[in-house]
Chain length 366, copies 4
């Protein structure tokens, strides 16, 4: 910036520590012979991954910090959204990067693969940290990677992983934040009630429609009844807290009733100015999760192509494991099909002017 000049002359290469940075690429295949040409690509691709992981962690940490106060300020929310959106863009880049790695043919990889020994991307400490910070706890991990820390990491690294596991994750922060949504019950307005009424009315209307149908075969009639039943069961999950809690106990849901209700509320009225940033926040958190799934899938395809389905030397961490994690490591699995709980706008009441006015006050007191 032109305002204040730095006192010492600044040089691009010093600032970026290029001397050091560009020294870190030493192909193992070069130890005995002319290095395999493509090992450089292999190293640089993975180093670039690690640099981006550092950036993601940098942004994620700041997100967790900004979400620490209760209540989080609206100003903080804006910044949180911006940083989650940055993480999204970075993950998109990580996905695109696989196109570069795949310019290496499997035969080219075989030229140096035996120098890599038992090494595995699974040993990336930063990626593990990142997963934990998002909310993937070690007990959620798919076998064989349930507790492989001790083996793959140094004791300092292991301690850091443990400490991160006990700290708050994005998952729990999102849940807490949703549970604190101040508009769910507002004077005479109760979204819980509003939702239940909309569901009941929807089901009643649907039942009447079915009864009015004429000329149905027995089979068709059964189908219609089945559909009505499905509908009732699906929306019943959220309309009845006790059913929801049962699902929670059975491990079929991960997030609390209150936070799920709040998410449905935010999505239902996301066009209200006051709910716009909350909607963007929720959307950004889900997109980070979805893009990570997409990266996991794309990465698994690459591994299948390069190494095949036989897996690494350990015999375990190959394609079969990776493809399993695509769905199982989603943090917000409850919310990826949130739309099954949504009710169309024409069946929802307008937020009354009282609610809207009160929502307005929220800003005033910030």
């Amino acid at each position: 910036m032109n305002m204040t000049s730095a006192s010492k002359k600044t040089v691009y290469g010093d600032y970026l520590q290029l001397g050091k940075l560009l020294e870190c690429q030493e192909p193992y295949s070069g130890s005995e012979q002319k290095p395999a040409h493509d090992e450089m690509l292999f190293i640089i691709v993975h180093q670039v991954y690690e640099l981006w992981f550092k950036q993601i962690i940098h942004d994620l940490d700041s997100v967790l910090d900004l979400m620490a106060p209760n209540p989080m300020s609206e100003k903080g929310l804006c910044t949180v959204v911006a940083r989650l959106n940055r993480i999204k863009e970075i993950i998109k880049l990580l996905i695109a990067k696989l196109d570069v790695l795949e310019t290496m043919k499997p035969m080219d990889f075989l030229d140096f693969r035996h120098f890599l020994g038992t090494m595995s991307g699974f040993q990336s400490h930063q990626f593990r940290l990142l997963e934990i910070k998002l909310g993937l706890s070690s007990c959620d991990r798919v076998t064989p990677s349930k507790c492989p820390y001790a083996k793959d990491f140094t004791s300092i690294q292991q301690e850091k992983l443990n400490a991160t596991e006990t700290a708050t994750s994005l998952f729990s922060k999102v849940q807490e934040w949703l549970e604190r949504t101040p508009f769910l019950e507002n004077g005479s307005f109760s979204f819980k009630l509003v939702y239940k009424e909309a569901v009941d009315s929807m089901l009643k209307h649907e039942k009447k429609r079915i009864e009015s149908l004429t000329g149905l075969t027995e089979k068709e009639k059964k189908m219609q009844d089945l559909r009505l039943n499905d509908l009732s069961e699906n929306y019943g999950k959220l309309a009845n807290p006790e059913i929801y809690d049962q699902l929670l106990r059975e491990g079929k849901r991960c997030l609390s009733y209150k936070s799920t209700l709040a998410a449905v509320f935010i999505e239902s009225y996301s066009n209200e100015p006051i709910l716009h940033m909350p909607h963007q926040f929720l959307h950004a958190a889900l997109e980070v999760d979805r893009l990570l799934s997409l990266w996991r899938f794309r990465h698994a395809l690459m591994v299948q192509k390069m190494i095949g389905t036989k897996g690494g030397t350990g015999g375990s961490l190959g394609y079969a494991y990776l493809i399993k994690t695509v769905e199982e490591y989603q943090i917000f699995s409850d919310f990826h099909d949130l739309s099954t709980l949504l009710i169309p706008r024409f069946l929802l009441p307008d937020l009354g002017s009282d609610v809207k006015r009160d929502l307005g006050f929220f800003y005033k007191t910030t």
Copy 2:
């Protein structure tokens, strides 16, 4: 690889030298205060650039090596094409990366810009090397960057730049290779002649067509004559070597007559198996050049957004300079509009079976 285990236990983090690599990010804004959050992104984005530049140089160097023998083997050509295509993919990634950088708002940049002083991406030694290796000599550079080496680089860096300038570039290698194309004159076949005849026949046919038009106004007739003239002038460039050489002397063309003729030959008959790899090679070299232009343009847009049109502290290296380089730093400018010299297939003679058989021998003797 499962065949031979490495003798020592290999670890991901050691291999990638992560200890060192992840230590290289030290925000200047942190020297006096809490660092500006977004400076980390700024550093990492540029470090990732430099890692990719290293990879591009690695591939480009091998391309130049593979092209050194005269004649280059067909086997070498395949590898050259693969590596140029890799460079293409990397540049696509560099373009995509700007989406990540632009998650930083101009106001966020101002939070730490003054710490950067007179630093400039212009000081990237690797990028300069890369430009020279492609074929951009220092005398082609747009002012104010004509000879700024002495100022921005260390004497070792400067020496390396000088040495690179005197070494062979991709540009000159491509020209040489084209000039050696063995099929242009082959027994009774002469592409130069074939081309000239096709042009003459095309012009004669067009002239007849114009003369046969009836009911044209004076103005319309003039237009038609102008078009015929244009056509004649355009194709005449290549049909007449002396005209071409005149253009070369005037600096309106960069590549020799013979290499241009060869390029038109390759494109014209690129469906012939023997010309398929040459076509892919030419295409890959041009695409690297075009994608670099695209990156320069995209990068200039980003600079305009972040810094505006006022330019850096030097007052000179900002948007105005960058946008100028988009077109002026194209290496193969002669070939980007090669299609103006192409003649439709239906006006070209089939390559005779003699030529085709002889072309076949080429492989045999490899």
Copy 3:
């Protein structure tokens, strides 16, 4: 949706009118002979363009409608941002689409190009409408396309273009909306004053810094003075309305003083919740403009490759014209380097609590 079943059976193909849609591809090269294989691609690529243009116009029209009320509601603003962001995504796709078109080689294009006659993408009525709706008036157009409507369009199409020119464009809507920004002057707070004071203080501080420098050569001293002068001139543009208005009269600025000041205000305090959506809106409008420039550039590169620099049969609408439009057809050229007018946060006063409270009321009365 499961709630109300459509009364009649709905079928995918009927809904999308596929019978009709998939009948619209008739290669001209097929009139006399076996059609050139790649003409199908050429047709489909351009039809897909037109479908997306229809969608962009659909969204743009709704944006203009939503911006019609004075003041626009905050709820409307959210929707406007969402739709501009959709237009952004569509333009990204239009850019990506060129990769598909470029799988056609110039020689393949020559197989059917002569069947296309004088046809030109310039005759796209929807694209012209779109440009006008964004704010590109016919008098801004680069020759030779200043007033070519009469020639290229039917009279009904021409009328629609004329009507659109007289209607309100996004450009003028954005200007109006900025001029109405209610926070620039708020009780004792005046951003105009705040800005001027920050500029003065910055210049004073810089002057002192320069005077305190010792051991400068005469030349270095001159350089420093020049820089100070530049700084003063640059920020003076906005600090002094009369200078700004002079620039406006000279055609060096396009947008009014008040709207530019408002834009700088919004960017400066974009982290304030109340200014977050305005910031997103401004950003989205600028991004649409920038992405369109990027498309124009990428499109020009494609034309250069396919047709060369000779241009179309008209001799005028080729690469040279297209590359000119990249910068000249930017709608918000004033704002693309807005950052030159921005002042770092540490030189700006915090918005007082009075202002913040009053900003809060804004929502309340919506």
Copy 4:
């Protein structure tokens, strides 16, 4: 093209049949009320899909035609590769397009979803054709879509599907072409033998290495033996035709022994000029398949977000079905992990000069 002017004046809009094309968008939600704004997007997104499907089929048909002659000419192979690469680029675009569709929020979709009734993308006739032409036969389909043709398509459409099923698919063409590879047995050279010898030598060497290890615990020793066993079993599949054929009978492999051996040969020696196009062909076919998987996955994520996991009205064709097809509908599943059968170059013999000379003759006789 400037050579021959079309006799009649050609107009862009007529050529593209825009009058008709731009009439095909009629939102169902508009039948009773103001149409839901986002239904236009929904329609256009799907129409654009269908246009691209038409193009893919156009290219795929030409690929199948070019592969009909036995042997296919080398010239034909070049064109086949180019067209498969185009299909790749189109599928990349189809994936990117989902970003545009997802600018529609689930709540926006609910505004018109009930008008769509039982309609499903599953009713896309062109997509079904495309799947069959690639090689997905109706008996490979996942329930519930095994034989749903009769219900979803007209009888003419159904007939076309049936006819396509009986015609040759890309899958069988690739298999046939591989089986005809003329270099597997060439004079004294037998790749089958070469492969078996390399595998035996690799296993012997590995066995010796294990035996020479000292200080291993019983458990570590067992692990090493297991690894050797795995290795032996994996490579044994291809080294022993009878084992391979057994796997084929058990449905664990899809492609014949000979074609798999040929694929391994091509990949192993892909740097030989004569094998370069065959390698590109194989690679392009696999990439089309992989990209389609990626599209299926990305599409399933979108459906999960928009509709949730409950599925369509039929209750069956939702996310659960779609996610299943990602892996199960891969055509070349045998080849996606081909790398498990590859042997590093340093264990493979150089192709003798005899083989190389003979390979040269191949071209000559074309």
